[in-house]
């Protein structure tokens, strides 16, 4: 390996809250060579972002480097100050942050902000800025430079920041969850871009992410961070194949692997939660959650042991850590629903008139009405899990809200057991309300901070279960147990719960009324993998026991393939493909489905980014403008027909099925985390 240009030695960082000092990073030792990308993975609260900022000397006001050195080309950043530091910042140190919109000044034009970063003479800087934008594959640099941040799509914004970070000759590049806020397809493109830009400019890079899959794709080596410590560091492949730390192992186990199915292979989450800063245990930080932990672990803190070249771990019993060997690629039988449909939608449509921006009005554009749903027909069966996938803006959420009755559809009908449903909740009979429940995406907002968990769970029992508050109170513990939470949680308030726990309570609340259908709208997306695994298990378990049906909305195909029986792929408010999960996903037929799958695949096809403001084409196939396999005029002119592609498997595309199958055969199955 080339000689390291970034050397982090025993770096410790602490935040002070009031008078208290909270250590968030302890004795971090890392080194990165030019052009090398070191992955930094860990759950939220592990201190990975802090690490990134500390290295850049960009810690917030209440944080400080309490010990250690950060050597970049031999200069200790921890010691540099004022003008020297500013020179380093402008020349060598770069950051690509998680939330591009927040990172750009909302009231300055992109051009101005780039020019400011580049410095030097104005015209020269502008030329360079344009060039940079072109380099990050922005089609129309001039226009972008004239626009304000909010006028660009998330992907574009991120590209702008990448351009900003890569002018000149950056020596150190910190990528802090650079794609978390993006769609899978966009993410894929951005990651590719980053990869070859790093190769081109040769900075030492830290790639910080909670997404092991991403790290696997871009990082040559990966460090696992836990509670402010590096618990394991190794070449990425090694790390994934032979993890030598229980925590790493736990993370990998809690991922839904391809071929695994909820009904046969429950995931193995890490129980417990990451210790809050300032509450670190005496011995090994992971001991409280560690299956291998013994007294020694609780007593003495393991050092970072070098167990192989480039492979170190912080575990006394690393040799006992084994990942249960590669799993048999287990193909799911394409089961066809037997029993009667529970809920069906008929040509369900929803158009949303949008508000205009002053600039749009100034440009005299007509107020755009987005076709959020157009003529969606789907059927949900008892005791089955229907997954819905698609990019943001595909209408997934709108569909869910229409079914629940939170937003009235503008056309079409919904039938519950062949009884038409009223468009809005308060128009529906109590019984219907009870039968359909939903869990929303954001666990932080799911619970009312003013009410105890018990109260939150009691209400649906009273309102929908028709129980008196006494009996309701008695049922609460069962509900908590149902989602694997201790009964005493009933007395806690939301701010005393972790995100995962909140989401579990939200699920319990939704289940309290014993619904027939539970809609889960990105219900696990906001959770760390280990927590997500636990929630997925809970869901699977409940479904097995109660025979409830799920409508499972997500952008994460791995989860869908793990959990769903049937899949619906949506694009711009239309269903483009639907059928049994196995049939749809392997191999994918519809070009869009293919693209979605390929997104997690280093060598897969890539889509052009959706234009943020643009609306679906008037006629023809809605996906055609981005379709990599479009076959010309027909796609533009006529809307594609439905085709049967197998039992209960339908696809909407002009390309003959045969051709599609051929095209797909040499794409290996759904990409794994390996």
């Amino acid at each position: 390996m080339a000689t390291a240009i970034l050397e982090i030695e025993n770096l410790s960082v602490e935040y002070h809250a009031g008078r208290r000092k909270l250590p968030v990073l302890r004795e971090i030792c890392l080194s990165v060579a030019a052009g090398e990308t070191l992955g930094i993975v860990g759950e939220s609260g592990s201190g990975k972002s802090t690490l990134g900022l500390a290295v850049l000397r960009a810690l917030p006001a209440n944080g400080r480097i309490s010990a250690g050195r950060v050597l970049l080309d031999g200069v200790d950043l921890a010691q540099t100050q004022g003008a020297t530091l500013r020179r380093l910042w402008s020349r060598s140190l770069r950051l690509i942050p998680q939330n591009p919109l927040a990172a750009l000044n909302p009231t300055l034009k992109i051009g101005a902000q780039l020019v400011e970063a580049i410095g030097g003479r104005r015209d020269a800087a502008e030329a360079q800025a344009a060039a940079l934008l072109a380099r990050v594959q922005i089609a129309d640099p001039e226009r972008v430079m004239r626009s304000y941040p909010h006028e660009l799509s998330g992907g574009m914004q991120q590209r702008v920041l990448i351009a900003m970070a890569l002018h000149g000759a950056p020596r150190l590049l910190v990528l802090d969850e650079p794609t978390t806020s993006l769609d899978v397809t966009t993410e894929a493109a951005v990651i590719d871009l980053l990869a070859d830009l790093i190769a081109e400019r040769q900075p030492a890079s830290l790639f910080i992410s909670h997404n092991l899959g991403l790290v696997a794709r871009i990082a040559t080596r990966t460090a696992v961070l836990y509670a402010g410590e590096v618990v394991e560091i190794a070449p990425t492949t090694t790390l994934f194949q032979q993890p030598r730390h229980p925590y790493t192992q736990g993370l990998l186990r809690s991922l839904p692997h391809p071929g695994l199915r909820y009904d046969h292979h429950p995931l193995q989450p890490i129980e417990g939660a990451i210790p809050a800063p300032g509450t670190l245990p005496a011995g090994c930080v992971f001991a409280p959650r560690c299956p291998l932990a013994d007294d020694r672990c609780r007593r003495e803190r393991p050092p970072l042991l070098a167990i192989a070249p480039h492979h170190a771990t912080r575990c006394h019993y690393w040799h006992r850590v084994m990942l249960d060997g590669a799993l048999p690629a287990f193909v799911v039988p394409t089961t066809v629903p037997s029993d009667a449909p529970l809920l069906t939608t008929h040509r369900l449509s929803k158009t949303i008139a949008q508000r205009q921006s002053l600039t749009d009005i100034a440009r005299g554009k007509p107020a755009p009405a987005v076709q959020a749903l157009s003529e969606v027909n789907l059927t949900i069966h008892r005791n089955r899990i229907l997954g819905i996938v698609g990019e943001s803006g595909s209408g997934k959420t709108t569909l869910a809200r229409c079914i629940i009755g939170l937003t009235p559809p503008s056309g079409g009908a919904i039938e519950l057991l062949d009884i038409p449903l009223a468009p809005l909740i308060h128009q529906r009979p109590r019984e219907h309300v009870r039968r359909l429940q939903m869990v929303l995406q954001n666990p932080q907002e799911a619970l009312n901070p003013a009410l105890t968990i018990g109260e939150a769970l009691r209400r649906p029992l009273i309102r929908l279960g028709g129980l008196d508050s006494k009996t309701a109170a008695n049922r609460v513990p069962d509900l908590l147990r149902l989602v694997k939470l201790p009964p005493e949680y009933a007395h806690r308030r939301p701010n005393q719960l972790s995100g995962g726990e909140k989401q579990r309570v939200a699920i319990a609340r939704a289940l309290a009324a014993t619904p027939d259908l539970l809609v889960l709208d990105e219900a696990v997306s906001a959770l760390d993998v280990s927590v997500q695994a636990a929630v997925l298990n809970v869901l699977a378990d409940i479904k097995e026991r109660t025979g409830i049906a799920y409508l499972f909305i997500t952008h994460d195909l791995a989860v869908v393939s793990y959990l769903a029986d049937d899949v619906v792929v949506m694009y711009r408010g239309q269903i483009v493909e639907q059928g049994p999960v196995a049939a749809v996903l392997r191999p994918p037929l519809h070009p869009y489905t293919e693209a979605l799958l390929a997104a997690t695949n280093p060598r897969g096809v890539r889509l052009r980014e959706a234009d943020a403001t643009g609306t679906a084409p008037a006629q023809g196939c809605p996906f055609q403008p981005r379709c990599p396999r479009a076959i010309g005029e027909i796609c533009r002119a006529t809307p594609p027909p439905w085709r049967e592609a197998g039992v209960g498997h339908r696809i909407r595309c002009h390309i003959p099925l045969a051709d599609l199958q051929v095209a797909q055969t040499h794409n290996e199955p759904i990409s794994s985390e390996h």
Binding site: H426, L440, E445, P449, A450, A456, R463, R509, A510
Partner: protein, 275 residues
């Protein structure tokens, strides 16, 4: 929200503590006025006209030989009763209206808040003067004025908070179980609106003190011989040169109370921000 933590955050900062002490001080003055005040606020002594401050008359006496200290003490009553009471009522009405109307939305919201906009389009003092002209000066009228002037403002604040809460998951969850309106309004929303309203209330209170005093000074508020602080300033203007203390004393009282309330308001804001 955890009360102890709130309390601690609240008193952590000396300024806040100072403010609280000041306000508490005036409150006790108001409550135990008769015990504290050496004389009746209106008792006159022909032989002690315009006495400078002295041990027997801490703040001196005015042109009619009334003890200013006693007047300040009793004035605190009026001030807290009117400004405080008025604010309290305004906050209550404003909250009830703001929360419910904002949650229900629709034409009702449109109607109510158009009306409020109409009221808010008038600067507070202008509206107050018009109203007082209409109903005639008296304690009750002043109270009424404060309520009318501040209710719309509070309602607006409450509404803005509710509008941010409405799309939250737990409210949708409530809708998904077809929850009782009263429950959503008072059990789910109110506790979350409360903190913001607490800050707003403290702020309103300090403005109300000003308003009451200003009305007193313009002679349309509380009537003589009531020891209204603003009125005392007005009456003192005629004899500022002869007995400056008769102006300084009520002025100082107003200033002190307002500052106290402001410090408290700051504290409330910070405390809520932290927890």
């Amino acid at each position: 929200m955890n009360v102890q933590r709130l309390g601690r955050a609240f008193f952590a900062d000396p300024a806040t503590a100072a403010g609280t002490i000041i306000v508490a001080g005036f409150l006790t003055l108001a409550l135990f006025g008769p015990l504290v005040a050496p004389y009746s606020p209106t008792a006159q002594n022909v032989d002690l006209i315009r006495q400078p401050p002295s041990p027997s008359h801490l703040f001196g006496t005015d042109r009619l030989g009334r003890d200013l200290f006693s007047r300040i003490v009793y004035g605190a009553r009026d001030m807290l009763a009117l400004a405080g009471g008025g604010t309290a009522l305004a906050v209550i009405f404003g909250t009830l209206i703001g929360v419910s109307v904002a949650y229900l939305g629709g034409w009702l919201e449109e109607l109510v808040f158009r009306l409020f906009d109409g009221l808010l389009a008038m600067p507070a003092l202008l509206l107050a003067l018009l109203l007082l002209g209409a109903v005639g000066p008296s304690r009750v009228s002043v109270l009424l004025v404060i309520v009318v002037v501040y209710t719309p403002i509070v309602a607006r604040v409450a509404r803005s908070v509710v509008l941010t809460l409405k799309p939250r998951g737990f409210i949708e969850a409530a809708r998904m179980r077809d929850e009782r309106l009263s429950y959503v309004l008072w059990r789910e929303l109110l506790p979350l609106v409360a903190p913001t309203l607490a800050v707003e209330a403290a702020l309103r209170f300090s403005y109300a003190i000003f308003l009451v005093a200003s009305l007193g000074f313009l002679g349309v508020g509380v009537q003589p011989p009531n020891p209204d602080w603003g009125l005392m300033v007005l009456e003192a203007r005629n004899e500022f040169a002869l007995a400056p203390w008769s102006l300084y004393v009520p002025a100082a009282a107003i200033a002190l109370l307002v500052i106290g309330v402001n410090l408290m308001a700051e504290g409330v804001r910070r405390a809520i921000g932290e927890s």
